[in-house]
């Protein structure tokens, strides 16, 4: 796994593009609100989280992501991503 600039690369043989959105405290931790990721077929949301976690010490304690959404729907973190997906990790919500 390599990490160049702001882009987060999970697999070198990537042939799919996934858009990662980051909100609230996660955006502050990661330092950006959106990243374009090139990922290999078979990559799960959990795989992306694990890569994110490896790069940010405040996330080290979190083996699992808080909540995961793909294309505006809550999904299990094990969900396999597809080309063009919009992925978001949802920090615990506090609306209302």
């Amino acid at each position: 796994m390599t990490a160049e600039g702001k882009s987060l690369t999970v697999n070198c043989s990537a042939i799919m593009r996934v858009r990662l959105l980051l909100f609230a405290v996660l955006r502050d931790i990661v330092g950006s609100d959106e990243q374009q990721l090139d990922v290999a077929p078979g990559t799960s949301a959990q795989d992306i989280w694990s890569a994110l976690r490896d790069r940010h010490s405040r996330l080290h304690g979190y083996v699992k992501p808080p909540m995961t959404a793909v294309n505006l729907e809550y999904v299990a973190p094990e969900t396999i991503l597809r080309d063009g997906d919009e992925l978001a990790f949802i920090p615990p919500v506090s609306g209302g």
Binding site: G61, Y62, K64, L72, P91, S94, G95, G96
Partner: protein, 142 residues
């Protein structure tokens, strides 16, 4: 129609919007920014949303309540951006021929929206700003 708004919410207009001549009861819930939270003084709250998903999730909550309580008409407005102490962050209005359903729907809506809608708040106090709730730095598994 959008459930999210960047300007002050008009609660009276929201009630008027849902209430028909056949309705005998309107129940409203308004959430306000409080001047304190967990011992800290609060001056304002900044609300951020994953907008398209928040719209979807709120619509989903509304639809599930509508399916269970078809006689109730419902309106929801959640404010985003900077909201000062004493201003409403959310207003919900439920109108129904009878009051039991209106109370039930209103409570189910605020509970469901608070649980599901991807919306976050950052508290601004004299000491600085802080996201409410989860802030990283802990752990979720041994």
């Amino acid at each position: 129609m959008s459930f999210l708004t960047d300007i002050a919410i008009d609660a009276e207009a929201l009630s008027a919007e849902v209430c028909r001549d056949s309705d005998g009861a309107v129940v409203t819930f308004s959430g306000f920014v409080r001047d304190h939270h967990e011992g800290r003084q609060v001056e304002s709250i900044f609300y951020e949303a994953y907008r398209p998903m928040a719209e979807n999730e709120i619509r989903r909550v509304v639809e599930s309540v509508a399916q269970r309580l078809p006689e109730v008409r419902m309106a929801v407005q959640h404010r985003l951006g900077l909201v000062r102490v004493g201003e409403a962050s959310i207003v919900i209005a439920c109108a129904s021929p009878h009051r039991a359903e209106a109370f039930d729907a209103c409570r189910a809506l605020i509970d469901g929206i608070k649980e599901m809608a991807p919306i976050w708040k950052k508290e601004r106090s004299p000491d600085g700003e802080e996201w409410v709730g989860w802030q990283g730095g802990g752990r979720n598994e041994e």
